[in-house]
Symmetry: C2
Subunit: 337 residues, 2 copies
């Protein structure tokens, strides 16, 4: 089965083009790398020859001499999580704008895979966006020392970050529940180590304080539908009237669990998620949620990363805060009990 590789024609190089066009190789190089530094006519001629020969600059060779690989890494904990696929989409958009290619590092929710993935990808890229990571702050900081880095929804002293406005989002969610007559809100916590989780719970506590709503917290749970179901199991006897979950996936898991066990949503329990993933719209009832501008986050992160690569100073003191928005759908209603 395994034989000698099929012969494929070797890709033409700068030298082939140079010979064919009757100029020096460096002139060919210039034509593509710094047009303007070469006579318009010669350039045209060279391009013509190059096109005829099907010449494409070898990006690796270019990278070797310029040490600009034009590649970026985006690290996520799970590609199949819709939150991250939207993030990747944003990153791709901004990357191609800046003529960068993105390497996907998918941790597959495993520390070891995350390491290996990073190892593999890091030496090839000029910078990295940490969409999510289980690595410790100090580990990340070490990496940030080697390559430009932007982190998402995380607070890493000295490393620029892009975050969503959790406090405002949570505040709006709490207000919404307050307006519907709810007096107590239960927060279903996500992963313990999550910065966003801490932010959200804190924001809820503060909002509760100001709005005279009592708050409590259960968890932590996995940030998945399974985690949500687990939370549901814990609240089955004496469910609260209002719940805010760490994210949509959990809210959906919780929603389905409750409904399956005879608790009606929103009649018995009002439920709010975070992120506004596509599935939030699809469940019955559709989920009220605090929408995060995920794609915009990806775009912002990459734009900042590229700026960093190009020598911008890491204005790391303040994070880039992107606005959230409460999307009211069917899972919240006036309190009835």
């Amino acid at each position: 089965m395994t034989d000698e590789p099929t012969r494929r024609p070797a890709a033409p190089t700068i030298y082939d083009v140079a010979r064919e066009a009757g100029v020096a190789p460096s002139t060919v190089s210039r034509t593509f790398a710094r047009p303007g530094r070469v006579n318009a006519d010669t350039a045209a001629h060279i391009r013509e020859v190059a096109a005829r020969l099907g010449y494409r600059a070898n990006p690796l060779a270019r990278a070797l001499s310029t040490s600009r690989t034009k590649m970026l890494a985006v690290m996520v904990s799970d590609v199949t999580n819709p939150f991250y696929s939207e993030l990747i989409r944003g990153a791709q958009i901004a990357a191609s704008e800046a003529d960068y290619t993105v390497l996907l590092a998918d941790a597959r929710e495993s520390d070891q895979v995350e390491r290996e993935s990073l190892e593999r990808v890091l030496p090839a890229v000029e910078g990295i966006v940490i969409g999510s990571s289980r690595m410790s702050d100090s580990t990340l900081r070490v990496i940030a020392k080697q390559k430009p880095m932007v982190v998402l929804n995380r607070d890493l002293m000295g490393v620029p970050s892009v975050v969503t406005d959790n406090p405002r989002g949570m505040r709006r969610a709490a207000e919404h529940l307050g307006e519907l007559g709810h007096e107590a809100i239960t927060y279903v916590a996500g992963p313990e180590a999550s910065w966003a989780d801490g932010m959200r719970w804190r924001a809820l506590r503060e909002a509760g304080h100001e709005l005279a709503l009592s708050t409590r917290r259960i968890g932590p749970f996995a940030p998945t539908t399974e985690g949500g179901a687990e939370a549901g199991a814990q609240m089955l006897d004496g469910p609260p009237t209002a719940v805010i979950a760490y994210n949509d996936l959990m809210a959906i898991g919780l929603l389905r669990f409750l409904v399956a066990h005879g608790v009606r949503v929103p009649e018995d329990v009002s439920l709010i998620g975070f992120d506004d993933i596509m599935a939030a719209r699809l469940v019955t009832p559709p989920l009220t949620t605090v929408a995060a501008p995920v794609r915009a986050m990806g775009i912002t992160a990459v734009r900042n990363l590229v700026a960093l690569i190009n020598g911008a100073h890491a204005r790391a003191a303040e994070a880039f805060v992107l606005p959230t928005r409460l999307v009211v759908r069917g899972s919240t209603a006036r309190r009835r009990r």
Copy 2:
């Protein structure tokens, strides 16, 4: 704002290690590239020094001299489509097994973006998996001539492919509906150019023929929830009792449209999708669907691609066919009218 780049320590090279270890650079190279060709003790020493210095082989430099970049491209039409994210997951798994990195080429449902994406990525990779593409067969074949390629759910003469067993899946779906007493099945078609769509419709016709069920087809529609809703609008007056949609996204869009317009599922209409994406489980009622082993497809595709790269012969005559499975959930029921 844009200033001189922050100084980052230059990564140690093979020369640094060589000097520090008191050996020739080529020996350091050998230690990593072909261990066994170097004395065990020297090798150990070199590794020790390398570790101490934090040496990491520069993959680009290596690629330049070996012309093995250890990178693969996966082209998809839309990263945010759950079908493709699962595919990417599979590709990642197989790629890391083989010590390859994957470059994601996301077409964002646009021809132009697809082109650019491909241009950007192609010269850097050793091979490419076409998860989906709007490119013509002939264009793809041209590319396959330059780089090893594996296509998914598509039939490209001369190019190895991985497909799901659409005929069997469709057959099972039709049988299921037949057993529930349905006598006519409407197929809601996906994108016109889609090979899978053609396969599915053909398979349904044949199954219908054998099972004495009448079949008809409407569409094409976009393979999205929006497309599904559009189809719903077309069938509002006099809806069929049984519908099979090109994929889950469409089925879900259709489902929600029908329910919103007073048509009950599954009481009035039984509905089946394809793929078994996560959302299929989340909608109400949960969707009966023909599950595709998406992750396995990604794995299979990449494994084959790697084999191809290593010189396996393209046994392109037969495609790799992966089994499908009918997952019966709540959207199908006995015919009542």
